[in-house]
């Protein structure tokens, strides 16, 4: 991930020292300030697209829960996005990116992450006298510091959004939000330091371009432990071993959510080029966009065909999951040079997630929206695929998957269990039947609509 930005750093160096970059010697012919602006603006635009994914998760999950739990999932999703931002500002970013020792395990424990002094000086400078300040800024960094923070922040929120879908329809609001705070303030940043923060996994050669493992599987592991510790929804698994599905209440919302996620993923993967200030970065970003789209398309199509053959019907919810699984799968290596291979990676991602959905049910792990199949299963697959099809190293990839999996599972379990035995994590069964919206939020999601099956 940090590759594409170094090129600009070097050329910026040249500018600061008054050298005019020339085609034959520098890596990029761009004016240093221009590169700084492009990188920064790219982070902001891509970050906005990733922020939008929070809405995508909300709509997907709001569409896939029952009507009686819809307001609760909406509340959780918007608040978790808020909490993720605050926690990452308070502590998370520094744990992940600041002063991580080379090959180390964790960054700085100090609070707040603010604009640099140079940037503040530049912003405060008189319009007619800020040349030196400007040079100080773009000479020392490839992009504005807070633009990077913004981009990294929205990634944390994604990891948290994944959890909410799996544990929906039975978890209490407040303990869930506490979990989110710990996940986004500590668990995610610490494991992030190992790779993107240039810690020990990075040193080992672990390669996860935009976070199949670092973001998606992390959310997946946290969700998996939550689902196990929390248990399935009341009535989901019959005494006779039969599964009683609770169909999602609003299919167009779920579809909208998937489209939003697909759109946002261009920012997620594209922005992970981490630069726009060179032809190389722009080219890489184009390839990333195309691969991202084709992998999603392949996952979508394959899951539809598989569902039609295996289940007898091309279940829409499975197809939506399939497209997302294609996206998760390509996330570890969207810069691969051959789009046909990206399609293959996405197709296998979609297939695996579709196969996984009933398997989780078989072992009675109740995943309301399929987040485990999509983010965990396809996330692992995508990370391995970098070794299979690209420059990744098998050992490093497996080490990364395992280390992160173990770390997140253990830390998450501890948090879930502490919550369980202190304030409790599960709403009581009567409330569950009656709907979390009444019990936890105090209003109905669709009060004017005659709703079937709402308990009493």
């Amino acid at each position: 991930m940090p590759k594409y930005s170094r090129i600009i750093a070097t050329s910026l160096f040249a500018v600061v020292f008054g050298l005019i970059p020339s085609v034959s010697f520098a890596q990029s012919t761009l004016n240093g300030e221009t590169a700084f602006i492009l990188n920064t603006f790219m982070f902001l635009m891509a970050g906005t697209l990733v922020m939008w994914m929070a809405a995508g998760f909300s709509m997907l999950e709001a569409g896939l829960v029952r009507a009686q739990n819809t307001a609760t999932i909406c509340l959780k999703n918007i608040v978790l996005y808020a909490i993720a931002g605050v926690m990452y500002y308070l502590i998370g970013y520094k744990l992940m990116y600041v002063d991580v020792p080379e090959g180390g395990f964790i960054g700085s424990f100090s609070l707040f992450y603010n604009p640099s002094a140079e940037e503040l000086a530049l912003m405060a400078a008189e319009d007619g006298a800020d040349a030196a300040e400007a040079a100080a800024v773009y000479g020392s960094s490839d992009y504005s510091r807070m633009s990077d923070w913004f981009f990294q922040m929205v990634f944390v929120a994604t990891a948290a959004s994944i959890v909410s879908g799996t544990v929906a329809e039975r978890i209490k609001l407040w303990p869930f939000l506490i979990f989110v705070a710990v996940l986004t303030g500590f668990i995610y940043p610490i494991q992030g330091a190992w790779s993107w923060g240039t810690g020990w996994l990075d040193a080992m050669g672990f390669s996860d371009f935009a976070g199949s493992t670092i973001v998606h599987s992390v959310g997946g592991w946290a969700a998996l432990t939550g689902a196990i510790i929390l248990g399935p929804r009341a009535g989901k698994y019959g005494a006779d071993g039969r599964i009683h599905p609770f169909p999602g209440a609003n299919m167009p919302l779920a579809t909208l959510g998937t489209f939003i996620l697909w759109m946002g993923w261009f920012g997620f993967n594209g922005g992970s080029v981490l630069a726009l200030g060179s032809a190389k970065a722009a080219t890489a970003m184009s390839v990333v966009f195309v691969n991202t789209n084709l992998a999603a398309a392949a996952g979508c199509i394959v899951s539809m065909i598989y569902a039609a053959l295996r289940f007898g019907k091309p279940d829409l919810t499975v197809v939506l999951n399939g497209a997302l699984a294609g996206l998760v799968a390509i996330t570890a290596g969207p810069d691969i040079g051959n789009p046909a291979i990206a399609m293959l990676i996405g197709a296998i991602g979609g297939l695996l997630s579709t196969i996984a959905i009933p398997l989780f049910d078989k072992v009675k792990i109740d995943d309301v929206v399929g987040a485990l199949s999509v983010h965990l299963v396809a996330g692992i697959w995508g990370t391995l695929a970098v070794a299979i099809f690209s420059t990744g190293d098998y050992l490093a990839q497996i080490a990364g998957i395992l280390a992160i999996g173990v770390f997140v599972s253990i830390t998450s379990s501890i948090v879930w269990i502490v919550l369980k035995y202190t304030i409790g994590i599960r709403v009581d069964e009567r409330h569950e039947r009656y709907g979390l919206d009444h019990a936890e939020v105090g209003l109905e999601a669709y009060p004017d609509f005659e709703i079937r099956r709402a308990g009493g």
Binding site: I243, H244, P245, P247, A307, R310, F311, G312, K313, D315, T317, V318, I357, P358, D361, G370, E450
Partner: protein, 112 residues
């Protein structure tokens, strides 16, 4: 007076209403219901798990009529609502003691 309560297939509602209007029936009340009967609901699959939908969407019609119209009304409904396929529904008839038109306070036959 009688109350005729019929449970029919939803798409037959307009046909039944027209048949009744033709008989001079001037009012009726319709409710969306779900029916369980000999007609079995489909087995659906959601995310790979089978489940059976036991209830099928039906429409319930209630028509208050004078005693002498019972036969024709029942017949009209039966004809209009029938497709000959399972699940066409049922007609039930019972006595009512009184009917009142809220607007005017009229009661009995006049209220219908």
């Amino acid at each position: 007076m009688k109350m005729v309560m019929a449970v029919i297939k939803p798409f037959k509602l307009d046909d039944v209403r027209e048949a009744l209007t033709a008989l001079g029936v001037e009012g009726l009340t319709v409710t969306e219901v779900k029916g369980f009967g000999r007609q079995k609901g489909q087995t659906e699959i959601y995310r790979g798990a089978e489940y059976s939908v036991s209830f099928l969407p039906k429409v319930k019609i209630e028509i208050a009529i004078s005693d002498d119209m019972e036969e024709q009304v029942v017949e009209a409904i039966q004809e209009a609502a029938s497709t000959g396929r399972i699940g066409d529904g049922k007609i039930f008839v019972y006595d009512i003691n009184n009917a009142v038109r809220i607007r005017t306070g009229e009661s009995g036959q006049d209220a219908l």
